[in-house]
């Protein structure tokens, strides 16, 4: 039979843990509300931005006479070097949130490796960066503490190098992997190809006017700055979406931890009572048998 004192100590420690996890859950709930609001407001803009870009890409594909020659919209066969940007949280204790992203990154890495494509990994977020460092996977570039506090200026600066390299022809593709917010209970993993802009889904319709009218001298400049904004915003949106998802994941994880701790305290209490009862019984028997022997 376990020592009464030991069990008591265990109960105390578990219920202390429970207090911590409950507090963490409350903190995450409050933070989630703010992050979700931010993500919700930006979602519409991000969706429309994607639509506009897809439409332009489609029109460029359909209007062959236009002779628009921009690398960002071109189809690149046999890519040689691609950038993968991944976004993870800076902190743990949020269930499978980070590991899901890391798994997706590893899968894509393997895929490209089998095609003999060189991959430059660019990480955002401490957890992912640490994971790849520990596993001795080379990171081309990394930034910490951006994913917990999304900042447009910093994310723009981070991504500018990739856009530049793409336009210079140093890389042939740009992917982003992040875990986004779906609803309070679920996160959704996004693996998006940002560059070159994908126009495969766009069907050329004869009835639609497939002309793209852009001022002739303006065209290169317009597409260039549009693509910049598109990629910059896509990254920024990934960051805010990821923060919202992180908090919802942590909220859930802490909720589970709290209820696990509760169950544990309950079973420990039963054990404690049993032990106490046993101790009393033993004591009584000792007294009674003592009295018996005196007779």
């Amino acid at each position: 039979m376990a020592n009464l004192k030991d069990i008591q100590r265990q109960i105390k420690s578990v219920s202390n843990t429970q207090k911590t996890t409950r507090a963490m859950k409350l903190v995450s709930t409050a933070k989630l509300r703010r992050a979700e609001e931010l993500a919700r407001r930006s979602r519409l803009y991000a969706v429309k931005m994607n639509q506009v870009i897809a439409e332009i890409a489609g029109r460029i594909k359909c209007s062959k006479i236009g002779g628009i020659d921009n690398r960002c919209f071109a189809k690149i066969e046999n890519p040689k070097v691609v950038d993968i940007i991944f976004v993870t949280a800076d902190k743990g204790l949020c269930g499978g949130f980070n590991i899901q992203t890391i798994k997706a990154v590893k899968k894509l890495l393997k895929e490209y490796k089998s095609q003999n494509v060189k991959v430059r990994l660019r990480g955002i977020g401490k957890k992912g960066v640490e994971f790849f460092k520990y596993n001795e996977v080379e990171l081309f570039d990394s930034v910490i503490d951006l994913s917990s506090k999304p900042d447009k200026a910093r994310s723009d600066k981070f991504i500018a190098a990739s856009i530049e390299d793409y336009k210079d022809g140093k890389i042939d593709g740009l992917h982003i992997i992040y875990n986004g917010f779906k609803n309070m209970m679920t996160q959704e993993l996004h693996v998006n190809k940002l560059l070159p802009v994908d126009s495969d889904q766009y069907e050329c319709e004869e009835t639609q006017s497939s002309m793209l009218e852009i001022e002739a001298q303006d065209e290169e400049h317009m597409l260039d700055s549009l693509v910049n904004r598109y990629v910059e915003y896509a990254i920024y949106y990934a960051l805010i979406d990821s923060v919202a998802a992180e908090h919802s994941a942590r909220m859930q994880a802490m909720e589970t931890a709290t209820s696990n701790a509760k169950d544990m305290v309950k079973s420990l209490k039963v054990k404690f009572n049993k032990a106490r009862q046993a101790a009393i019984t033993t004591e009584l028997i000792e007294i009674i048998s003592g009295v018996e022997s005196m007779k």
């Binding site: 407001r41 930006s42 519409l44 803009y45 429309k48 931005m49 639509q51 506009v52 439409e55 332009i56 029109r59 006017s209 002309m211 793209l212 009218e213 852009i214 001022e215 303006d218 400049h221 317009m222 700055s225 549009l226 904004r229 915003y233 920024y236």
Partner: protein, 130 residues
């Protein structure tokens, strides 16, 4: 006369969504107006004022910083980085919007010589409301 469907979006949400008779946009190559059934065009916008003529002939002005517009036969989608709508129920609300608008121009346009004309424009738009 036909109306066109106009949407103006900022990273902070929708700022205008509805029908309009016409809309005047500050394009990089100069101001241009769009009526219903305009042919498709995509172009960049610079800091300036979007004037929306509504169905009841009233005009609403929205100050924007950098943006992009995508016009097709059915609708006009304007994506902007920052925007302030010059509108409000009361004089004080309009004055507040005007203040915000001025803040936005001073934050974006110190290199832009057009800053004076833009602020004159928003002031006249505000006067119209009051």
């Amino acid at each position: 006369m036909d109306t066109l469907k106009l949407e103006i979006l900022t990273p902070n949400g929708l700022i205008y969504d509805g029908e309009a008779m016409s809309v005047t946009l500050p394009g990089e190559e100069g101001e241009f107006g769009v009526l219903a059934n305009h042919s498709s065009i995509s172009t960049l916008l610079e800091a300036g004022v979007i004037d929306i003529e509504k169905e009841d002939k009233s005009v609403e002005s929205i100050l924007i910083s950098w943006g992009v517009v995508n016009v097709d036969e059915k609708k006009v989608i304007v994506l902007v980085e920052g925007a302030v709508a010059i509108r409000g129920e009361s004089e004080s609300a309009i004055a507040q919007a005007l203040g915000e608008a001025k803040e936005l121009i001073s934050s974006i346009a110190d290199s832009n010589p057009a800053i004076a004309s833009v602020s004159a424009k928003i002031e006249s738009a505000a006067k119209r409301l009051i």
